[in-house]
């Protein structure tokens, strides 16, 4: 509680400094706007800004869900055949040398300027942390658990649901938390490269037109979106992983 109060005071102070710093400096205000001006801008353009935010949110969420599903299906295939995992993993690691943001124009060309290219970009951004963390979690399961489940004749699906998934849960959620913010980054980067609507498009236009109030509003909603997605994952983790969350809280 005290921590929350400290954070609120810190951000309130930041806003006051920002407001006062730009009050009598019109050139600085032109570049970074100020809280009251940005708030007034939101009042006048709330419908457009919120619609853009919702659009980007939709792309990010679908991208995150798609990446999660693809990761789980791939991990399932790898569990059924370990040779595939050994084949895929080095490829995954090598694929990370590609700066993923450079793929955005390619997706626009391949999938068009609409939703598909943005979802594809968000999916690609999210995929790696989820896949690698889930793979690491599954790999780190002690051999004795395998022996135990084999001794009790566990079927492959029972092993996945009752052993692999629960024991890898902390790793899976580590990947999901990283990916929740990367999904927003992916969607926005794709929108920079061409979009009909979205926070990325707004940021691109704001930079071109030197529209500082639009930029601040777009940055604010991008941060909010990343934060909300992260919070949703955190809440799901608290529900599914209560056995280790409670342990962490209790020390």
């Amino acid at each position: 509680m005290i921590k929350a109060i400290i954070y609120i005071i810190f951000f309130a102070l930041l806003l006051v400094v920002w407001e006062l710093g730009t009050m009598h400096n019109s050139s600085l205000r032109l570049l970074i706007s100020n809280p009251s001006e940005s708030f007034a801008y939101f009042g006048g353009h709330s419908a457009v800004i919120l619609e853009s935010a919702m659009y980007t949110a939709y792309e990010s969420v679908i991208g995150l869900i798609t990446a999660t599903l693809i990761s789980f299906v791939l991990i399932y295939i790898c569990l059924v055949n370990k040779a595939i995992y050994k084949l895929i993993m080095p490829l995954m690691i090598v694929s990370q040398v590609i700066p993923i943001v450079t793929l955005a124009p390619l997706f626009i060309v391949l999938l068009g300027i609409g939703l598909k290219s943005k979802i594809a970009m968000a999916t690609v951004m999210c995929f790696f942390p989820i896949f690698v963390n889930t793979g690491t979690g599954v790999d780190s399961i002690d051999k004795n658990y395998h022996y135990l489940f084999d001794m009790y004749d566990a079927r492959p699906f029972q092993k996945i649901m009752r052993m692999y998934f629960p024991l890898a849960t902390p790793h899976i959620f580590s990947g999901l938390k990283v990916s929740s913010t990367l999904a927003v980054v992916g969607a926005i980067v794709a929108e920079f490269n061409g979009a009909e609507i979205g926070l990325g498009k707004n940021l691109f236009l704001a930079a071109k037109r030197l529209d500082a109030a639009l930029m601040i509003n777009s940055i604010f909603f991008s941060c909010l979106l990343g934060g909300v997605l992260y919070l949703i994952i955190l809440l799901i983790e608290r529900r599914i992983g209560k056995w280790y969350i409670n342990n962490k809280i209790n020390g």
Binding site: D142, M151, Y152, D153, M163, P166, G241, N246
Partner: protein, 249 residues
């Protein structure tokens, strides 16, 4: 029908065998204590008998393990088997109760889930008031007792215990020795127990083997009674101490 272990060797090359020509028989309902200094392959032997490990190098043709004439890894063998690992190996996402009944939730439901058995087994391991706790909230000794309850719950005919009582205090040890004997008397369970504790082995083993540093059986004795004669315990101590000295040199 007894547990029959014949000519078991284990190693990754013929020059470096961890276990060498291990053979013994344990009759139904009896307890075999397996002793030896660290690194002599006692746990490996238990895992081989359980069928967890494959033998990568097979130096002797007639090596085999059977229990009630069922070969290892057969469904019949596994159905009669229970294994307690050195670490409790509990599912951290399951409560004490859920961990104990885990065997009933796996496979094709071949284990008979006798719900009436649960209060009794919880009482035996002293966890009646902790059945809804997650393992993270339990002490090391309590986790061991949950693992022990899980290994008892299927009424196994062959129970393999890898240093099961090492994290328990003397009070719990004595109580569980008694419960182990009751379980054996009730089901005719054959028990193989790896331990470093000579007094523990003295209390519950009917037969003892000692595995030496070369991986072979260097001492074997069938006592056929519960109390270990003091002079034989001393003899065992001497053998183990001589092995320690070999390690030191």
């Amino acid at each position: 029908m007894p547990l029959n272990v014949n000519n078991i060797s284990f190693g990754y090359s013929p020059e470096k065998l961890t276990l060498k020509d291990i053979s013994f028989t344990v009759e139904d309902g009896k307890t075999l204590g397996i002793l030896g200094v660290s690194g002599t392959g006692k746990s490996t032997l238990l895992k081989l008998i359980a069928g967890f490990l494959e033998v990568p190098y097979q130096p002797v043709n007639d090596m085999h393990i059977t229990f009630n004439n069922a070969p290892i890894r057969s469904a019949k063998f596994r159905r009669q088997l229970s294994f307690m690992f050195q670490e409790p190996t509990l599912m951290p996402n399951l409560t004490v109760m859920e961990n104990i009944v885990l065997p009933f939730k796996l496979g094709d439901g071949g284990y008979n889930d006798d719900g009436d058995f649960m209060p009794e087994i919880l009482r035996v391991v002293g966890l009646e008031n902790f059945k809804d706790y997650y393992p993270a909230a339990l002490s090391g000794g309590m986790k061991t007792r949950v693992a022990l309850a899980r290994s008892f719950v299927t009424n196994p005919r062959l129970l393999l215990l890898d240093e099961p009582f090492s994290s328990l205090d003397i009070g719990w040890k004595n109580k569980l020795y008694g419960e182990l004997k009751s379980l054996q008397a009730l089901n005719g369970t054959t028990v193989l127990m790896v331990s470093h504790d000579l007094d523990e082995i003295a209390k519950i083993a009917d037969k003892v083997i000692v595995i030496g540093l070369d991986g072979s059986v260097i001492f074997e004795k069938d006592f056929r009674r519960h109390l270990f004669p003091v002079q034989d315990a001393d003899e065992l101590r001497k053998i183990i101490l001589s092995n320690y000295q070999t390690v030191e040199n």
